[in-house]
């Protein structure tokens, strides 16, 4: 049953980009803060998709309230669901590789891109995040809502100072 569900989710995530092929990604006007490359269908800069803050803000927005093991007190994160972002770029794979400004790198599988899963946050407590504050982008999970995200694997996937994503070929 569970495996069936997983398979169904995988199928949906795999099929979604096909529907998104027709979409055209706008080009960034401000400073590019995220570059997605690899097996993606939609691009706006050669074979990569680049995003400025405005583009991300224009996309589907979710807010996650949770504590983290790196911060003190309850935090409010606002950002784009990772799934929505992958949809926007027409990701054609079930695995992505995220890399940070500090060159930290981690693989995030498609099972984390689901609803109620990881988001790409661009605001913490209502303010844009500087690099000093783990900005400008931070992959955050709703740790408090689901105990399954309170694992070291998830913590390792919760990458901050994110600036590059490569969807696995």
């Amino acid at each position: 049953m569970l495996s069936f569900l997983t398979r169904a989710i995988l199928a949906v995530t795999v099929l979604l980009p096909v529907a998104a092929v027709a979409q055209d990604l706008p080009s960034p006007e401000g400073e590019v803060i995220l570059t997605v490359s690899g097996a993606i269908a939609n691009t706006n800069n050669g074979d990569t998709a680049t995003f400025d803050l405005a583009m991300l803000e224009a996309m589907e927005t979710v807010t996650v309230e949770t504590t983290t093991i790196w911060t003190e007190g309850e935090q409010t994160f606002t950002g784009v669901p990772l799934g929505a972002l992958m949809e926007a770029v027409g990701a054609e794979s079930a695995m992505l590789n995220a890399t940070a400004i500090n060159d930290y790198s981690v693989e995030i599988p498609a099972e984390d891109w689901v609803e109620g899963g990881a988001i790409v946050a661009y605001m913490n407590n209502g303010e844009a995040m500087s690099v000093r504050d783990k900005g400008p982008l931070w992959v955050v999970y709703p740790f408090d809502d689901d105990a399954k995200y309170q694992t070291e694997v998830t913590y390792s996937r919760s990458i901050w100072q994110l600036d590059r994503i490569v969807v696995a070929e």
Binding site: I69, W70, T71, E72, I101, N102, Y104, S130, V131, R132, D133, K134, A147, Q150, T151, E152, Y155, S156, S158, W160, Q161
Partner: protein, 854 residues
Amino acid sequence: MAVTGTTEQLGRPWRRRGATVFALACCIGMIAFMAWVLLREIEEVSTANSDNLQWSLAQADVEFLRFELAMQRAQDDPTRVDQVRRRFDIFYSRMDTIENGIVFRALRRDPTYDEPRAIVRAFLQDAIPLIDGDDETLIAALPDLSERAQAVSDEVRRFSLAGLAAFAEVSDARREDLVRTLILLAIVLGALLGGLVLVALAMFRLSQIAIRRSDEVRRTSARMRTIVETSQDAIIVANTRGLILEFNPAAQEIFEIPREEALGERLAELVLPERSRSKARDTYFRFMNDGSRDGTGALQFEVTAKTRGGREFPAEVAVNHAEDASGRQVHVVYMRDISRRRAAENNLTEARDRALAGERAKAEFLAVMSHEMRTPLNGLLGSMQLMRDQDVSDRQQELLSRMEFSGRLLLSLVNDVLDLAKYEAGRIDIVRKPYSVPRLLDGVIETTAPLASKNGNVLEWRWEGTPAEGAVGDPRRLRQVLLNLVGNAVKFTRSGTVEIEAEVVGTADPQLEFRVIDSGVGIASEDLDRIFRDFETLDSSYARQAGGTGLGLGIARRFAKLMGGEIGVESEPGEGSLFWLRLPFEPADLSEPEQTGTKAEPAPSIRPLDILLVEDNEINRLVAREILEADGHSVTEAVNGRAGVEWANARRFDAILMDVSMPVMDGPEAARTIRSGTGPSAATPIIAVTAHALPEEIAEFRKAGMPHCVSKPLDRNVLQQTLAEVAGAAPPVAEPVAAVAPEAKDDPLLDAENLARFASGKSTGLLDRSVAEINWDIDRIAEATLAPADLQQVVHKCAGTCGVFGFTALRSALAAVETDLKRETAVEPETLAALAVLWEETREALQDWRAAQP
């Protein structure tokens, strides 16, 4: 063996169960505790509170070095100043993470970590204005900043190393914790395993026991089944409503009903005949209906049962209450056909009854024969007495004496045999009535005095200890026993003393003891046992000389036993003997007044009268004549009413004594005739003489002209009183009616005073004749075949005769019968038969009385 095991197993389950419950509780508690510990552990392990912190700390070092590198490069190439900013920000962010992360917070208390951290933080804070400033300023400040960073780089290393050490410790502690938990878990698991093994062992044992028990139960039930099926008795199991649950082969055979048809039927309806069912249900089968149990034990009774074929038979039933396997009450009914046993019992009973009846018939025959022999013997003796009054020669006198001696011996022999036979026939009843001990002893002395004086013996009696006046018992039998003892004593003593001692012994269970002590020949000790046996005489020649059958002491022993007492003897040959008689003593109050009334008052003497005596009974005439002539009156006799009337018409009398019931013409009729006539005696007072009269009859006598009435037997004083009154010399006496009321119960058998009048030598013949007459009459009465009228006549006549001789009890009884007959009340045959018994007793008393006469 098996029984002991069972009791032990029965005795222990509570302890065992307690231990089991305790062990179980321990197990559950242990499991719960372990579960809690493990859950806590799992909770702790399942949610990580850090990512790879070693990496974070190492990264801090790396990122700081990169920041330094960026600064040096920017000094060479100022276009790369942005890289300095980027590296600064990255390190700053790392520092922030290390300062704020949950896992690092605990480290802040550690100075080896916190001191270098504070230095690094201060450096960063100082650098911020430069980093955030414009490029020229930053580039200008780079050499200086680089130098400062150089100084701080050791601090970065220091706190990252301190953090690593601390985390290694934390990690060790965590591991130790986990190991502890796992060891605990292992212990608990071991304990549980041990417990499980124990439980398994216990279960195994229990199952062994259960198997053994079930084997036992199977064997027992097989045995029970064999018993039930081979039993000769019908065994029926019924439930509390009386429905049959089990019906064994014997039952099927006895009741001729197959088991399948019997099951579920009502027990009572199946095995009992219809007529006794409802009774059975109410009585011994009641437990079937309401489940009540009479007592806890088995119920046993006998019933008449029936087979299906309708044969009825007596059955012995035993009912036990039990519980079946499911704990319900059942009745187990055992029934046995006892018709054969019953028949055997009946045969036995019949045989015994026949044998007893034969014995009794023999004894009765003996009694009757003895009884029948006494009458002619008495006649012979009486005649011999009369003959002595005749003119006989000396030789004849001597022959008469011998004949008389022989006759008396024969009589006493017959009397003894009669007593014995009556005893054996069970015809002797012991009465219980109050009597006076001194008077009884006086009587015994008086009776035996003549023989005592003949043998030159001094005879007396006295009280030993406190005298007791009255006692309750059978004075006649007591008298007989004492007469025998004293008689023996005076017979076997010559010129000695015979003493009777009376004493009340004991207080709790007082006994009246009589001791007859003589100074006679005594009895050898070897003979002491023999003397109370029947037909034992110690010395036949002497016995012949003394007279006796050898039955006397045997009879005395029987009577003593009958009276609830015992008799015995102590003796020394040549010294004398002591016979003792011990009876239960019950004191009696004899303080009731002696017969008072007419006897007490001396009658006034009156002038001699000329009296007409109208009386059909010769004996009564004789008695009345004697009394009247003794007072100096002249008497003219008439034998019936008509003769009386003729005499009254012929001459004048001063008084007429008129019997009431007479043949030819009765008293009242004669009186009326005399009164209504004009003869010389028409005004003569007429005194009615009646054995007993009803009040209404006395009124009738008065109407007939007989205002006075005296009752029979004639009492001298009453007669004198009445005559004095008639002659006008005395006030009228009390109504004689009081004397009429018959009180048979308390009347003595004999009135010795009355009897004494006929005891003189010349009257013995009359007594003997009267006894024979009464004998004849009583026989006819007791046969109960006479017509009422005839019966009344016979009863009346017989009562009259009895009255004359003072056979008071019999007379009263006869009078009572007569009253009933007069009132036309039916007289029971038993009442008439009782008269015969009473007469028997009277005769015995008479016998005693005669024996007591000198």
